[in-house]
């Protein structure tokens, strides 16, 4: 069984192309209903062929990943995809910011994260302004009440009603993609785990899958299964944390306390396996933390106890009148908006859009043990809460089945893993997709003729989803912002890189 979540393409035949031709090919695919997984570019510095390399990855009707690739001249302009296909909006903004290619006619051409020469110019963000006699604007952040990453939110309001929310990010920009090129690729795992620290397992799995594919290395099914176990535990922990935050944001303190302590039980179990509450060290190239039968039984017991208590607090939340009153109908993102904007992950599924890489692009563990993915129809804060509850239930059931039937234990001996001097396939593009707690984490690695990594593109699911928060706020009140934001629970550092 081949993983459908990881794919490698040879690049030699697809070099110089006309940019307009490339964009036209993208347009055709999007018009045919293919899903745009990512679109990105890089500066080609070599004297031989200086220019900009642009790559677009699509998922076609059959579910296969397809790549379009082109090398073009610098500072070119092209007709933007966004007006016809809004899902491309953030990718085209990023492409413009990172390469200087200009998507003409893009309605929203502003920096994504103020990187490169724009660093430190956060005060110069060109906000839209809404005019009118009773119109006022409220700006909050980057530093917010509570312990949370920084981001600036500007509300354009008529009285109490929010007409639009504009979100300015980039405060967390650390230069991740550049850093990844400076290091020995075989030793990147701990750095990858720090890109978005709450999704360390999803990121490290995607990184390892891409490098292993480039090295032609196949991990054992048991190793792959242990990785999936780490990923599902990470999902449960993050969803529990979000539910805790949502309960706290509507002052339902019992929910806040209980989900918080339920998360503790899961991450402490993760620590017993991997040495770290966030699963750092769980996954390394060619290997995955082995665990003994004692730990396997420990995980089963932890999950069983978790499920009982989780169910109890869920029932309390779902039956509480004040929870219903606060969450139902608040922060609605319609199915149509979710589709047009190309939302992914939990946020998409809560609006009825069934996208889940574990189902659409299953790798081995999810082929052998298929996982059920559910959706909600309401697209409101209530829907996003219920979606998380259901996803936790699904993950726990899946884990219990796998842990009981598969018994993917291993003696705590040193797995050898991928040799540090393994050559990578030259002139190739590898892509990996892992359905992390928030949605698909996409990592794309391009190698040179000498087999060196020349581009490492990281794409957190939050990049596509932040606009969903802006949509959710429309026609709501500023006072609904905290619960709307928490119901999405997107990553700032994953967006900012």
């Amino acid at each position: 069984m081949n993983s459908r979540a990881t794919k490698v393409w040879p690049l030699e035949q697809s070099r110089r192309k006309d940019l307009d031709q490339f964009v036209q090919a993208c347009r055709q695919r999007l018009g045919a209903g293919d899903r745009l997984v990512t679109l990105f570019g890089r500066q080609e510095e070599s004297n031989r062929m200086p220019g900009v390399v642009v790559t677009a990855i699509f998922q076609d009707e059959s579910g296969e990943l397809q790549a379009l690739h082109c090398l073009t001249d610098r500072d070119k302009q092209y007709s933007a995809l966004t007006p016809d296909f809004p899902a491309a909006h953030i990718f085209e903004r990023e492409l413009w910011e990172q390469t200087g290619l200009t998507p003409e006619g893009h309605p929203w051409l502003k920096p994504v994260r103020f990187e490169g020469k724009r660093q430190g110019q956060m005060a110069e963000y060109p906000f839209f302004s809404v005019r009118g006699q009773e119109i006022h604007e409220v700006g909050v952040g980057p530093i917010h009440a509570g312990v949370i990453e920084p981001g600036h939110f500007r509300f354009m309001c008529l009285g109490e009603q929010v007409h639009h929310l504009e979100i300015q990010l980039g405060y967390q920009h650390r230069g991740v993609e550049q850093l990844l090129l400076r290091r020995n690729p075989m030793l990147l795992a701990p750095v990858i785990e720090s890109i978005c620290g709450d999704s360390a397992v999803a990121y490290s799995w995607g990184f390892c899958a891409a490098i292993e594919a480039l090295a032609g290395y196949e991990v054992t099914p048991e190793c792959d299964m242990r990785r999936a176990i780490g990923l599902e535990l990470e999902r449960i922990a993050i969803h529990a944390a979000t539910l805790s935050g949502m309960a706290t944001d509507i002052a339902f303190l019992q929910g806040g306390g209980t989900y918080g302590r339920l998360r503790t039980a899961i991450i402490n179990a993760v620590q017993r396996v991997s040495g770290n509450r966030f699963g750092r060290g769980w996954i390394r190239l060619g290997k995955s933390k082995p665990f003994t039968d004692t730990l396997r039984v420990d995980l089963i017991q932890t999950l069983a106890a978790f499920l009982r208590d989780f169910d109890e607090i869920n029932q309390l939340m779902l039956s509480s009148q004040s929870v219903k009153a606060r969450l139902k109908g608040t922060g609605v993102v319609t199915r149509q908006a979710a589709d047009e904007l190309g939302l992914i992950g939990v946020a998409a599924r809560a609006s009825g859009r069934a996208v889940d890489a574990r189902v659409d692009l299953p790798n081995q563990p999810y082929q052998r043990f298929p996982i059920a993915s559910t959706v909600q129809e309401t697209g409101d804060c209530w829907g996003r809460m219920k979606q998380r509850m259901e996803e936790v239930d699904t993950s726990v059931a899946w884990l219990l089945k796998v842990l009981q039937e598969e018994k993917p234990t291993a003696a705590p001996t040193k797995e050898i893993g991928l040799a540090a001097n393994s050559p990578l396939k030259p002139d190739a593009l590898a892509i990996s997709v892992v359905e992390g707690p928030r949605g698909a984490v996409v990592q794309a690695i391009e190698t040179s003729q000498a087999g060196r990594i020349v581009h490492y593109k990281v794409q957190d699911p939050s990049l596509s989803n932040w606009f969903g928060v802006a949509m959710a706020l429309r026609d709501n009140e500023i006072s609904d912002f905290p619960i709307c934001n928490k119901s999405f629970d997107l990553s700032y550092c994953g967006n900012d890189l």
Partner: protein, 249 residues
């Protein structure tokens, strides 16, 4: 109401009675370095370290840089590196964070009489994430949950810098956060302290070499407490603050 009380009873009590005595199972925390000499010219541990935390001759680990990834442990051909679950990693001195075979423990926190008198019964902190990966931020949030419950010691997080006695800094300090961090610091009334949480805040961590980082803030304001980890464990942070302020169990 009855349902709520039932759930309360059924979920039980979750707090850790004495934080200083907690033993976080499996936690890869303090490195333990064996006294045997390294093989001549061996630098295997240094080669795999993602944050340049290891120095040689004699082999030592700077926990201000170390991200506790543990990758050096299997890399050492002599097997002289291991990790214990001792979470007491914090120190009042940056230089006190280095451990070696000769110096196996982090320098103990110097309890300050002045800090104890001023903040020993009430310490309000404003958190600023300046490039953090949400690891330290989630652990800072966890300090107030029902397990760790740091409020019982009079330590608390506050929303407004105006209400704060100090700054809890996480992240390596990105250029894009320099101005916001400075303004938040200025908004905290004197007297005030800085606590650096996690390898990123202490040294830049794995991002130390990035051009996108600008750490001059810490040249001007020396932290009163350094709490290593990646992320820092809630126990390391809370017990570190308790030790700094002389707060009893």
């Amino acid at each position: 109401m009855m349902k709520s009380l039932y759930v309360r009873k059924s979920q039980g009590t979750q707090y850790i009675p004495v934080l200083r005595e907690a033993t976080p199972a499996g936690f890869r925390a303090k490195p333990v370095i064996d006294a045997q000499a390294c093989a001549l010219d061996c630098s295997a541990c240094q080669a795999v370290c993602p944050s340049a935390a290891i120095a040689l001759a004699p082999m030592r680990i700077d926990l201000g840089r170390c991200v506790l990834c543990g990758d050096c442990e299997p890399a050492c051909p002599a097997g002289k590196i291991s990790f214990s679950n001792d979470f007491r990693l914090a120190s009042t001195e940056r230089d006190g964070l280095t451990v070696s075979a000769e110096h196996p423990n982090i320098d103990p926190i110097q309890v300050s009489g002045a800090l104890h008198r001023r903040y020993g019964r009430s310490m309000k902190l404003r958190s600023v994430s300046a490039g953090g990966c949400n690891g330290c931020e989630m652990e800072i949030n966890a300090m107030s949950n029902v397990n760790f419950d740091f409020g019982r010691y009079g330590i608390d997080m506050v929303a407004s810098p105006r209400h704060a006695d100090g700054l809890l800094l996480s992240g390596p300090i990105t250029r894009n956060m320099v101005m916001a961090l400075q303004r938040c610091w200025e908004a905290i009334p004197d007297p005030k302290i800085v606590i650096a949480v996690g390898a990123c805040a202490i040294s830049g961590g794995v991002f130390a070499e990035c051009n996108e980082i600008e750490r001059r803030f810490l040249d001007n304001f020396k932290p009163s407490l350094y709490v290593p980890g990646c992320p820092a464990h809630p126990l390391s942070i809370i017990v570190g603050i308790m030790d700094l302020l002389g707060i009893a169990d």
